[in-house]
């Protein structure tokens, strides 16, 4: 049995929610853990993700049909290569409209693709409303809220962004010190590979390692939950209906 192909869609209807930092961390996690990953950067203005990870990031666009074909026809390929999509705030509506219209969720189920939406939560009303709407619209795809401690400290987002499935449990992005924040936002900088970043102080190095470790642990748990859900789904399909099972005589 081939492994399902994870497709992680990181999105937020608002800018500056830590979405691209999360996309960087997740892409680098998969590059290390699975040996390969492809990230799609839907930020046409800045292409931040592509600037940090040029070797494994593909710039993408959702405006023209040709670009939609280029993006989604890749996302639906079950090649076991993890795919990460960084959906910028301006592309948010268009991306999910196309996704719904072409029934990406339905085809993903048929193709052994495991999509998950990582929704970067923030306390503004638009994000809260959008999260609720997304849960209804993409009911068959796990949606995991992402609480970024560095941005929403002091706000209790658990009530506004509740977890609704066993797969889509919340992710918690630990806060970074302002110094480390500045360092990791200066290109080039690799979160996982020491050789692809400038030398930093031991203190910052320790903070960074701890931050990455805590995130990677959550990514690994998310991957396991997705795998478990996929196995459970295939077992349910393979096993006969209990009501029709022949029972041994008493």
């Amino acid at each position: 049995m081939s492994r399902p192909t994870p497709v992680c869609i990181i999105a937020s209807p608002r800018p500056r929610t830590g979405r691209t930092t999360l996309a960087r961390a997740l892409t680098e996690f998969y590059c290390t853990d699975a040996g390969q990953a492809v990230a799609y950067d839907l930020d046409a203005m800045d292409c931040t993700l592509q600037q940090f990870l040029p070797d494994c990031t593909v710039p993408a666009d959702i405006g023209a049909t040709q670009s939609q074909v280029k993006l989604f026809d890749q996302l639906i390929v079950a090649d076991e290569t993890p795919k990460i999509v960084d959906v910028s705030a301006p592309a948010f509506e268009a991306f999910f409209n196309v996704m719904a219209e072409i029934d990406f969720a339905g085809e993903a189920r048929r193709q052994s693709i495991e999509p998950v939406i990582l929704f970067a939560a923030s306390s503004d009303p638009l994000s809260i409303k959008t999260y609720t709407r997304m849960r209804a619209r993409f009911w068959s795809i796990p949606i995991a809220p992402v609480y970024n401690d560095g941005l929403v400290r002091g706000h209790n987002l658990r009530d506004a962004f509740p977890a609704v499935s066993a797969v889509g449990l919340p992710l918690q992005v630990p806060a970074l010190s302002p110094a480390l924040r500045t360092v990791i936002d200066t290109k080039p900088f690799s979160l996982a590979d020491e050789r692809r970043r400038p030398r930093i102080s031991e203190l910052l190095e320790a903070e960074l390692n701890s931050w990455v470790k805590r995130l990677n642990l959550q990514f690994r748990e998310l991957g396991l939950r997705m795998l478990l859900a996929s196995l459970r789904g295939s077992l349910t399909e393979a096993l006969p209906d209990p009501s029709t099972r022949v029972r041994p005589p008493a």
């Binding site: 049909t65 939609q68 196309v98 072409i102 029934d103």
Partner: protein, 249 residues
């Protein structure tokens, strides 16, 4: 089906998407396992035959032998779809009246439906007047086809309504717009919409059509069929007994 059912798709103007509407109807009936045959009156070429070669015959509806081929072979078991060439809707309806076909529909011996595909111009509204005389005796559907990005810009709603009301029991159908690239790819593939969605070639082999474009076609066709469900198209071509049985079941 206890009596033959005929659906005529036409317009007096070209390029309004008659054949596209015809193709959606063929897919609709074939998906519901309703035996269907089609006649393409774009003799000698025939666009419809390119998409549905197995069920389509090319005829010249102005010639008596071809009229005999269509109307003398009407079957109780199959829906007959006729794609009337641009400019021939009114003459065809007049010919049908002359051979007593419309009278037969009036008496309930056959079921005749007209899908009149409208273009964006006022000339399209004038076509309604021309066909109104015949149309009052058959089921009449006015099809607003947005597939080729038509904007019904010349129409004032009050003007349109005044034309629309000339035909008793006329029903309006709206065909939504299909993404241009998806539309183009189905044209290039030369297969029915359903075959394109299923990612198959005309010979049944697996194809490599874009997932996105297939998705667009699936979504669009779903909306078109919703319109056909709304007007209870299957009931129109089935007997009252079958419709009742379906309602009970």
């Amino acid at each position: 089906m206890a009596k033959p059912a005929v659906i005529i798709v036409g317009a007096d103007k070209g390029g309004v998407g008659k054949t596209t509407v015809m193709r959606t109807l063929l897919d609709y009936f074939l998906a519901r396992k309703v035996p269907t045959r089609a006649f393409d009156t774009e003799s000698p070429k025939g666009t419809l035959k390119r998409f549905h070669p197995d069920v389509t015959d090319i005829v010249d509806v102005t010639k008596i032998p071809d009229q005999m081929q269509i109307f003398d072979t009407l079957s109780d078991n199959a829906v007959t779809l006729i794609d009337v060439r641009a400019g021939l809707l009114s003459p065809t309806l007049t010919a049908l009246r002359n051979i007593g076909f419309i009278d037969a529909a009036k008496k309930g011996q056959i079921t005749v439906s007209i899908f009149h595909v409208l273009g964006p111009s006022i000339a399209s509204l004038d076509e309604i007047v021309e066909t109104a005389e015949v149309a009052n005796d058959v089921r009449y559907f006015l099809v607003k086809n947005f597939i080729n990005n038509t904007h019904f810009f010349e129409w004032d709603q009050a003007t349109y309504n005044s034309y629309f009301k000339r035909i008793k029991d006329a029903v309006e159908i709206t065909i939504p717009k299909l993404n241009e690239m998806a539309c183009e790819q189905v044209e290039i593939a030369s297969v029915p919409f359903l075959t394109f969605i299923a990612n198959k070639k005309a010979n049944g082999e697996a194809a490599t059509y874009s997932f996105v474009l297939r998705g667009y076609v699936r979504h669009w066709l779903g909306h078109v069929w919703q319109e056909y469900d709304r007007i209870k198209l299957v009931d129109i071509v089935s007997t009252r007994e079958q419709a009742q049985a379906k309602a009970i079941g």
